[in-house]
């Protein structure tokens, strides 16, 4: 079933897997609410990843593949944060998918 978030009286449509239907709906509050549905409380470390993803998307019109995200993390935030293990700890199970979901990026189609 399609889903939705309710934030300050505003309804925000989500698809069955919890991705935003309209990417333009994304706000910081929406990110917090989507993360909460994934049982994630957003910390500064989470926000570093989310910001990086959103900047990459704005600049290149692409969601980075996992390996590239790791590389970008390393470049921006240092080697200890540039590892898939680190991302796995922040966004358990499917870091690239879950981080994209919270960052309000399109659902990746290449990795079902």
């Amino acid at each position: 079933m399609p889903d939705e978030l309710e934030l300050a009286g505003k309804r925000i449509a989500l698809d069955k897997q919890g991705y935003l239907v309209n990417l333009a709906d994304w706000t910081v509050e929406v990110a917090v609410a989507i993360a909460a549905r994934e049982q994630i409380a957003l910390s500064d470390e989470h926000w570093e990843v989310i910001t990086l993803l959103r900047e990459f998307y704005a600049q290149h019109d692409l969601s980075p593949m996992m390996r590239i995200l790791v590389k970008q993390m390393k470049e921006h935030y240092g080697p200890e944060k540039g590892s898939s293990l680190y991302l796995m700890r922040l966004f358990p199970e499917y870091p690239a998918l879950i981080a994209c979901k919270i960052a309000g990026l399109p659902r990746p189609t290449n990795c079902p």
Binding site: Q59, D61, L62, I68, N110
Partner: protein
């Protein structure tokens, strides 16, 4: 990703992008393939030629959401470690373009260079 390639040795790919950026989806398909091959640690080169040189132009305006911005995607090639990003000299001249007006600096190559690149690549894919 459930299925990752089991390629043991990196192959070299030459992707020849000959289509204009927005006349078809060819430009996008070429870039997707280049990025994917590079993400899987293959040795990838891409050369823009014929109408494909227009993919490199700065200032492409795509209304939000209507089409992916080819120029923006091109700026990701180096980040994905695509080995060589090149443009065909004769095509640049024919379209009367100035490489200074490209989204980023690219290597300029001649027809003879491209012949050698084709001969040396494991895979050549034309879009």
């Amino acid at each position: 990703m459930p299925s990752s390639p089991q390629t043991h040795t990196a192959h070299s790919y030459l992707i020849i992008a000959r289509s204009s950026p927005y006349g078809s989806h060819q430009a996008r398909a070429a870039l997707d393939l280049a990025l994917t091959a590079a993400a899987f640690e293959q040795k990838v080169s891409i050369v823009f030629m014929d109408a494909g040189v227009m993919q490199l132009l700065k200032g492409q305006q795509t209304d939000a959401g209507e089409m992916k911005n080819i120029g923006k995607i091109i700026t990701a090639l180096k980040l994905y470690e695509v080995n060589r990003v090149m443009v065909h000299q004769e095509s640049v001249d024919k379209h009367d373009l100035d490489p200074a007006g490209f989204v980023e600096a690219v290597e300029v190559v001649t027809s003879d260079d491209i012949k050698r690149l084709i001969a040396g690549a494991d895979q050549v894919m034309v879009f």
